[in-house]
């Protein structure tokens, strides 16, 4: 195993542990400790055996765990906690693919920089989006809207967001599929 592979391996392991055990920093409740350990084991197992489902599953448990830890500790809303957890989760999932490449492929110069550049760019955009959302929510909170109405708005907003995303993903996948098919048809004459 080359030096570069060892470094990436350590990086991935650290990220996994950081993501999985992050709620422990906020809470010492027994249920959260057990869940955090479980997600940590799952994530490490997924990373080692290249089973992406394990990593995603541990990501899901980590999300649940983080929410529970924040609720139990009544920790004030902190954008930084959420965003750092999100960037770690993204790096973990994206780095999983890069790690597979490092294990099986011969890496030519410039590739690691290109992969890292994309991750940094995405983190920057995420930070900007997170700050934007935080400002928007704070603004809405200061409007002193009726509690029931705020609850309905949250549910509707979440539904709209998820629906939009689903439609967007479906549409872009369909368009790219059509375009590819067209290019193939054109090529075949």
């Amino acid at each position: 195993m080359s030096m570069r592979q060892v470094i990436v391996c350590l990086w991935l392991g650290l990220l996994t542990l950081l993501w999985a055990l992050q709620p422990l920093l906020l809470s010492q409740a027994r249920g959260i400790v057990v869940l955090a350990l479980l997600s940590g084991v799952l994530a490490v197992l997924g990373g080692l055996t290249s089973v992406r489902l394990f990593v995603v599953w541990s990501g899901g448990i980590g999300l649940l765990n983080l929410t529970m830890a924040l609720l139990l500790t009544a920790y004030p809303p902190n954008l930084w906690v959420g965003l750092s957890a999100g960037v770690t989760l993204l790096a973990l999932l994206d780095g999983h693919q890069s790690f597979a490449y490092l294990r099986h492929c011969q890496i030519e110069p410039g590739v690691v920089a290109a992969l890292g550049g994309t991750l940094v760019r995405l983190s920057g955009w995420s930070l900007a989006a997170g700050v934007g959302v935080g400002l928007l929510v704070t603004q809405l909170y200061s409007q002193r809207v009726d509690t029931a109405a705020a609850g309905y708005m949250t549910i509707i907003g979440a539904g709209v967001l998820v629906g939009f995303f689903a439609a967007f993903l479906l549409a872009t996948s369909h368009w790219s599929g059509l375009r590819t098919q067209g290019a193939w048809d054109e090529k075949d004459g």
């Binding site: 959420g82 994309t118 995405l122 997170g130 929510v137 995303f165």
Partner: protein
């Protein structure tokens, strides 16, 4: 090229859904913030879509090699536009081993640049293999919607059986007048100087030995020894093959046949080949480098075809088995049908040499060494019993005693000749 959704899209979306759900239920902002980078990645992969333009080519050299030789595969990628991280995979046949470099690589290129990546492949088993099938995956700009590429630059590579040099030469008993490496005791046309004799009518002027002629005051000419060569026929028993797919008696026999053919062709003998099995094929004897490749090509195709029928050896035409030829038989002697053919050949006064290949050396290593030893002894006893009639007739028999079946060749034949 074709664009596909990676499975990661669904995972990202599921986590996004979970984050939004948790955020809604708990009325906290952090779960949404945690899945926000995933949403950004999904959006970014859709928005920043650029079609990369590049060409891939593959070159394999040499296309004819021997077992365990290294074959170089050069993959050239030429980018017209900027190429994001791209994975190129040269799919190898299962028999191949990549010895230098890697057949899977990840690279990026700037517009108008070109890069050639090389790796070396080795085959440990004879056969015809197709190389040059390339698969690619271009990640623009995340791993979420890669472009998939399939590029076929099929190049058939012939891997011939390994040729091992024989330490000593074993001249055949019967030779015939033709150009070759054997020198006759009688004078005639040839290159080997025999002496000087008086000119007689019909002698060529270019053969006159002027110095002796001037001293003796009459014409003398150079005399040469006649050149001779022999016919060698390799008879390969393809009735039975014992062992695994990677290591079997047929492959051992084929390697031995290739070594024998190369050795006798180098000595300018005429060498032919007969595959004696369910399907009987042959290559008539001839000389030269072309014949070596003809034989190697025939050996490349040699397979065991199970059949209850065997062709009568008497039906093989005389041009394939010239009278007086040295017949080198490579067999496991596990099928009794070959014994009939051998008796037939002996009846027609062919000079036979029998190589009996042992299945012991191709069997997977046993956990019980004593049991393996006992099996080897049993095989040896059975062979002794079956080979007894041939030994009585004075046929040289080389029983395989090591991984190289030709190792015992010289002592056996030298002993047989002393006996004669």
């Amino acid at each position: 090229m074709q664009r596909r959704n990676a499975a990661l899209n669904y995972y990202y979306f599921i986590l996004l859904l979970l984050g939004v759900l948790l955020s809604t239920v708990s009325r906290r902002l952090e779960p949404v913030c945690a899945v926000l980078p995933l949403a950004v990645a999904l959006l970014y992969s859709r928005v920043a879509q650029a079609t990369p333009r590049f060409t891939v080519s593959c070159h394999v050299t040499p296309q004819r090699a021997f077992e365990d030789d290294r074959i170089t595969v050069a993959v050239t990628i030429k980018a017209e536009t900027a190429l994001p991280p791209t994975e190129i995979w040269h799919m190898l046949p299962p028999e191949a081993t990549c010895v230098t470099g890697s057949n899977r690589f990840l690279l990026t290129l700037r517009p108008g640049t070109e890069r050639t990546l090389q790796h070396e492949v080795m085959f440990t088993q004879r056969g015809k293999y197709t190389l040059g099938r390339l698969y690619g995956r271009v990640h623009t700009p995340t791993h979420l919607q890669p472009w998939l590429l399939e590029s076929n630059h099929d190049q058939v590579c012939s891997v011939y059986p390994r040729i091992a040099p024989l330490p000593r030469h074993l001249p055949p008993l019967h030779t015939h007048a033709s150009f070759g490496s054997y020198v006759s005791r009688s004078a005639g046309e040839g290159l080997e100087f025999a002496g000087v004799r008086q000119y007689s009518s019909g002698d060529r002027l270019r053969r006159v030995h002027w110095r002796t002629s001037l001293v003796r005051q009459q014409l003398y000419v150079n005399d040469y020894y006649c050149e001779r060569n022999a016919d060698v026929v390799i008879l390969l028993d393809t009735l039975v093959s014992v062992g695994t797919e990677r290591d079997n008696t047929l492959d051992v026999a084929v390697r031995a046949a290739a070594s024998l053919a190369a050795h006798y062709l180098y000595r300018k003998d005429r060498v032919g080949l007969i595959n004696y099995g369910g399907v009987c094929t042959w290559v008539p004897p001839a000389i030269g480098q072309f014949q070596l490749y003809r034989l190697l090509d025939a050996l490349l195709e040699t397979r065991t075809h199970f059949s209850y029928l065997t062709k009568d050896i008497a039906l093989i035409p005389p041009r394939v088995m010239p009278p007086g030829a040295l017949v080198l038989v490579l067999t496991t002697l596990l099928d009794a049908r070959l014994e009939t053919a051998l008796h037939d050949l002996l009846g027609r006064a062919f000079q036979l040499v029998l190589f009996v290949l042992s299945p012991v050396y191709v069997m997977p290593p046993s956990r019980r060494p004593r049991q393996a030893e006992a099996t080897a002894r049993l095989w040896r006893l059975e062979m002794d019993l079956r080979l007894h009639p041939f030994r009585r007739l004075g046929i040289p028999i080389v029983l395989q005693e090591s991984a190289d079946p030709l190792r015992g060749l010289y002592p056996t034949i030298a002993g047989a000749r002393r006996g004669q």
